[in-house]
Symmetry: C2
Subunit: 296 residues, 2 copies
């Protein structure tokens, strides 16, 4: 099966689980549940939860045991998008082709939507720990692991530097920091969680962690590239916003050709980190190729 | 020892622990760590963490084992204040006598500060689970328990109703919902966490949960009263903001005398929930009296 079909299969399962985990749009206070669902079911690729499930499969685990954690990563990812889009941050009107949360529900509710998605995400990780935590010590540390990835040393730290990086001197070390934290940390945590909940060995966790770090960089570099050469209709958000906002990106720093070369290099490193894994890791391998050549 | 001395003792320990758990103001990216510390070390009473430690002591546990969780409640409480104060929400300029986070660091960073405090709070709860979770099943569910308290059925749900309740028809059921969720849920979770980490029995957990629910109501009713009759210099924030914002409060709904009567009734219920507990629960008993008669 090709990658997009396999991703669609995982996406179907993830969406069904997200629908179960999110409070219904009729549950009191209804407006926030409607707003949470508006942002979660806005047509995302579900790449992070898919990577959790795939990492679980790669080490021979039952992906069902990683589903709550997989959904947590999509909720946390969505929280970060909703807050990043706010007028005080990137001030984006469109996301995945639709008006952003604050355009539809107002700024106050959009802030609370983000807070609620993050909170629900940690609740689901807590559930995974309760259900599987005492089997091994790594699973017991899952919430801490993800909290670290989402912290000011990870996701939030990246966003802090990102909002400060506009109009700044180009600095490769700073760019690397932003990308490692802002995008990389969550991919890393998502893959690690799948490996841990699948019962992967210490060696497998080490390899999959390295895989995820390179994979995250491929994803972020191609994201920077798409902001310059992408098709607005295919991506679902306006292109050129990085340039307009004078963001520090791989393209602004190194130019398009060098950015592409770096993406290819990171893709090779991601693939070679999977050495020794059998065909159960093929989804992860295909994911690298997909992200390297993606148009959205 | 009187209550304020005992609270000061706990506060000292909590502040030292918070100082250890929060990244230093010189850690990269420094500005957010400085901003997190600005809001956390703004002179709060530390009542929530004190209640966690006190509940742990009340069941004969070692409060040191509950310290990380206790700090988590202070961080989560501070996150909710920072986000509630934002221009899009209550638009408050002062908190605990000092300019609010967004007045000092700007709106974007204040949003991220709240996000970061919530995330660090869950990280510390995850740490508690890792260290103590496999001793009993209740401790293993700690992260889920707190996530529920902070969810759209708890803290966030209360805030949603609160921002929507301005200028609305007075409705006692709605007021009860806001207070149970917005303030009560976190006190409830804080006390429960202390009991669980202290190794309390099922019966003790049941009693302390009831205690915390009544205690939370005493706290919220007296908060409403202070907004009307309090001394701005003692409270550290402007009084009368509920009236100006036409918030639904116990005073606006029932008048000052009936609000005071209700606070006394809830205080009695809180105290009677502690029946059977020995003198190790005296801090909790004193806390009820303190909150009932507080001036800040």
């Amino acid at each position: 099966m090709n990658f997009l079909d396999r991703l669609a299969e995982k996406r179907y399962l993830v969406d069904a689980a997200l629908d179960r985990y999110l409070p219904g749009a009729d549950v009191h206070p209804a407006v926030i549940h409607e707003a949470m669902r508006y942002s979660v079911f806005a047509g995302g690729k579900r790449l992070r939860p898919a990577m959790t499930l795939a990492a679980c499969e790669a080490v021979g685990g039952d992906p069902g045991k990683a589903m709550a954690a997989a959904c947590a990563f999509e909720l946390i990812h969505t929280y970060s998008l909703v807050h990043d889009d706010l007028p005080a941050m990137d001030d984006d009107d469109l996301r995945r082709g639709r008006p952003t949360s604050h355009k539809v529900y107002g700024e106050a509710l959009a802030i609370l939507v983000g807070d609620a998605l993050l909170t629900l995400g940690f609740g689901l990780l807590g559930r995974s720990v309760r259900e599987h935590g005492c089997r091994d010590g790594n699973a017991l540390g899952l919430v801490e692991d993800v909290a670290e990835a989402c912290s000011t040393m990870g996701l939030i730290g990246g966003q802090v530097m990102d909002i400060q990086s506009t109009d700044r001197q180009a600095d490769p070390a700073e760019l690397e920091y932003i990308h490692r934290t802002k995008t990389g940390a969550l991919f890393r945590a998502a893959v690690r969680a799948g490996c841990i909940l699948g019962g992967g060995s210490g060696q497998q966790l080490k390899q999959l962690t390295a895989f995820a770090e390179h994979f995250g960089l491929v994803f972020q570099i191609t994201d920077d590239i798409l902001d310059v050469v992408g098709d607005e209709k295919v991506i679902g958000k306006p292109v050129g916003s990085d340039t307009r906002n004078r963001k520090l990106t791989y393209v602004s720093l190194f130019g398009l050709d060098e950015a592409r070369a770096r993406a290819r290099r990171e893709a090779e490193l991601a693939l070679s980190a999977l050495q020794g894994f059998d065909t159960k890791a093929d989804f992860l391998r295909q994911a690298v190729q997909f992200v390297l050549t993606r148009e959205f």
